[in-house]
Symmetry: D2
Subunit: 352 residues, 4 copies
């Protein structure tokens, strides 16, 4: 008789913390698949859910199995599911689009009007198994290692941001060197970015930024970021700003460092009002500002996979602790202290 | 003996007003031309200079002949000037680029780092003659009427803004129906914009907006602009926002009315801080925000001329008073009251 | 008891002709819908199938109900079909993509590697009912008239071709004025094309081209098409070539009339080798040549609907005979003589 | 007294060969500069001129100093020349555009209708000094070595071709591994091309292709290039074809290996008719075909310089013999045998 229960890390009540519980393995509909989770990674969003901040309180409805970065092996498929098979090594786009709204119809499903997120709006992947619509499954090329497979979701954010406009032969400024900022450095360099500047207040992360390939890493505490960058670019400023911090001061510095006619791609979520100087930093500059959300379905996945498969991205410095689900409390604590890279859980046991 | 003196409308002192004076006809360098001004039009910027606001005080160095919208006939050319000849019917791009900075080298001369503007940084076209670099001359197709020739500068702003992204088959919102906003309505419609919404607080201008082809003209005083526009677009919002007002409230409404994935092209200059809600209106929306400045040299001129020559743009409703330079005081007063369309001066006499 | 049989126009044997038969109303799967056909239009491809040319012999496997341009009312939906409901007024994209190949994953489903076409590879819409995947259904805005709803498939070809690159303020040459060529004229004009040239050997169609809005219609029999077009464009040539004829001579003339740096979008299918002068017409010219196939799913449908709903396209001159399915022999004969516009069948009876 | 005469390699008569002569140092106009040539490189076109083929006979008007790839130091500038100064280390765009035709006005000066080429239509750089319009001068960043400075013209062809469309995360096929094909491999890899395939019939050049970074180098003599490439890309074909051979068989194979929706950028000049299968290789495929000519002025130069300055391109394997102008006969012979990489002349003496 097949197993019917599984372990899952769940938010049970509207408060800080989580519980490892035994719950029923999800049943799947005709257009869905069930995936046995090999490895899953903790996102900053998961930290918010664990800590139960204001955003979590407004969005999350306990009880919920959270987690949305993972890879695994397909266990079972629905009778209408096409293009997938049991045994496939896969990850998934966890943003589930409606397929019928204006944006879905014009190829912009990543900003669907009715988006639901697995791991936020329905049970996610901090579990032995996760249920996914077949259309959201991404088959991983066997050349790509398992630990890379577990971080395709945030890597996709980085690839989406970097490739949202021309990058080859352009100077680049990455403001904020959290995991996605760090990945952006590697992606920008692999795609022909010429000089890559990065700013970051945390010394440990500045060190990481160098390892990821940044040409010049600056500490905002040393002052006058825009001036230093203009000096280093012959007075012109950078061609491309990749905003990864959500920090109002960093955003302001980034825009001041951007050249007239440059591109500013914003992924970081400002936690407070971040006033742009529309006149001087956008209009007179003829700048282009792009809001970046999620990953293009599935163009970003194709680009990311091609870069990984061809060995263009070395992300090894990013990886930190690898552990099992029952050690969740230690893992979240580690991350909250800001000392760890990407932490991976192995819900079905660590690889040997 | 040829005339050596001419009449010119000049700002002589750092204060409100202007003087009609007799000054020397400009001498020209080897790469320049002298144009006899047929018709010249008053820009909002000229109103600021006339009234001597804070911006004028910081930028304008009297004495200065102002004015930068015009057409005329080439009188004389420098010995190195190529592609032009005496007798040519011309207008000119009054933004003079350096040709050597980064932006000039990559085809973005309109945002040159060393831009000088004729009529602001050096003597302009409110005069019988104006001196222009040969490279800035635009030959006007004879099929285009003289009064249209006098407003190519602001029409170019409108064309640059509308065509800064796809427009065919897209819903459009124009916020602010001053002359350039009104022109944008006509241009958007001629280029396949589907439904054109316009907002404007001034009743006279709302009437003009309808004449220019807007499908739905809204008064912000009636409330909830974003809600009305979302209702009229099946809940989606508009594909394209053309911001022509510089008014912080209009900018905010415009962004709220923009669909996820939409384009916001900003030409209006905010007179005070215009805080964008970066999180909800740009990032989560995956919106693209473009600062628009001047006209592309000379792609915008080519597009504008093709549309005019083919008769795709009816701008007749825009034109107001036509007068001579010595009536300048009446003309500026008329404009300041907000009742006039584009006012034209004929420095060398009105056409019969 | 509901009806179980319906009338359908079918190709029964590998030979010229077709038969009107009574067949079972299709049953539908969980992700499909059944549509009651209101109006259906005859495509040139249907003429080939009816006449049984070499292409038909190699592709069509009788017995088959053919026809792929239609609109109708949803009769029934499968249990997994989302975003659709019985009673909806709809058309459909008849190219069915696999959703899993490289092209489907990157948003280019119209050139899916495993495309199947309803009406060619499986039973089509020359019948009282047609079975369609729910994902291929296009809901028609009620503002769009029924006879327009029947020709969205070829109109989509025209819109896809015209909007495959910039068109506003550009000179355009349409080579070949069959139905899609004629539609392209109207679309190019509505989207800001400046001067629209058209070439066509058939006098009746040249007349139609003028009605659709072409500025200059040329008969290739009068000679030197490229020379005439260069003369009419100041020696430069046209910005955009929309090739709709498939005729090798027209293709050659079109490329010769194209300006350096121009765009050539090819939709017409050459029936014999059409040698391009790659050196002079493509490489030295820096031209861009685009193969156009089908319609973008569903960006083209969105653009087309927006243009139709806003009343930007007057296609009335295009429509010819409106008849019932039992008159099919007369209808095909009429079209083969080349005298008719788009011929419509009403399988469930003509509207009153 | 300054020198008035200089040595120059000249084509004196319409026949094979060239002569090293003493001629007057060019005098310059007000908008021109005189450059003392440090290093100059031999292009395939120079080989044609030296050998006097049919193209040369139709285009070249002896006597002519040929040569158009170089770098040097500005000796003197005209009185109107701006943005340049004696002593500047420079190269130049040798395609001189008219600045007034349609293409020049819309930012496509590289396909100017009145293009003149220095070294072909007027005296070039196989000399101690060369006269250049100031607007065509390109200042070389001091971080870029002199021998790289001498090959910016062909490197610009490669950069223009590779960056004529998206390249990051795309599979690429380079057909033909002459100098520009080889450079394209390095550029495509530096800009994020994923798998780079190359085809070449010459074993020596296949070896070079590997050194430049190609992932898979194929010999067309081994048969079925398209089949092998489709197999290596999961049946899909390559995203991007960079055609550098001008060989009709290679062009055909390249198009067959291109995926549906792919980009084919053609730089190689076919020496005989190269029939495309428009139906299967362009139209049904929805492919985009781009003719590539010269270098974008000066966007390509900016991109190329940024890549070089940042050390993203290792072109060392490309360089062959370095010699002086008087050894020209040996140099041309070497190249005609096909054994050499880029051969450099040092007209003012070899560097120590």
């Amino acid at each position: 008789m097949p197993a019917t229960m599984m372990k899952a890390l769940r938010k049970l009540r509207p408060e800080r913390g989580a519980n490892l519980e035994s719950v029923a393995i999800p049943s799947i509909g005709p257009n869905e698949v069930l995936v046995r989770v090999s490895a899953t990674s903790i996102c900053g969003t998961d930290l918010h859910i664990y800590g139960w901040d204001r955003w979590s309180a407004s969005r999350i409805k306990p009880p919920l199995t959270f987690g949305h970065e993972f890879c695994g092996i397909i266990e079972r498929i629905g009778e209408e599911a096409a293009g997938v098979a049991p045994g496939d090594f896969v990850s998934a786009e966890m943003h589930v689009n409606c397929a019928h709204c204006h944006q879905c119809r014009i190829g912009e499903a990543h900003i669907c009007q009715n988006l639901r997120i697995i791991g936020i709006d329905q049970d996610g992947c901090f579990a032995e198994f996760v249920r996914i619509p077949a259309a959201n499954i991404w088959k991983i090329d066997p050349a790509i290692p398992q630990h890379y497979g577990a971080i395709l979701d945030p890597l996709g954010n980085a690839v989406h941001t970097v490739l949202a406009g021309p990058i080859a032969g352009r100077t680049v400024l990455v403001t904020g060197c959290g995991p996605i900022g760090l990945m952006s450095i590697a992606v920008a360099k692999a795609c022909g970015g010429s000089v890559i500047f990065a700013t970051e207040i945390n010394a440990f992360r500045r060190e990481m930024a160098k390892k990821m390939g940044a040409d010049e890493v600056l500490d905002p505490a040393d002052g006058d970021i825009p001036g230093k960058i203009r000096d280093a670019t012959g007075g012109t400023g950078v061609d491309v700003l990749l905003e990864m911090s959500g920090n109002p001061a960093a955003i302001r510095q980034g825009f001041q460092a951007l050249r007239a006619g440059g591109r500013a791609s914003l992924l970081g979520i400002p936690t407070s009002d971040a006033a742009l100087d529309l006149v001087n930093d956008v209009i007179f500059k003829g700048a282009t500002v792009q809001g970046i959300y999620g990953r293009r379905m599935f163009e970003t996945w194709v680009q990311m996979s091609a870069l990984l498969k061809a060995g263009r991205l070395n992300l090894e410095p990013l990886f930190g602790e690898r552990t099992t689900l029952d050690k969740f409390a230690d893992a979240f604590e580690l991350l909250q202290e800001g000392h760890a890279g990407k932490v991976l859980f192995y819900p079905n046991g660590k690889p040997h």
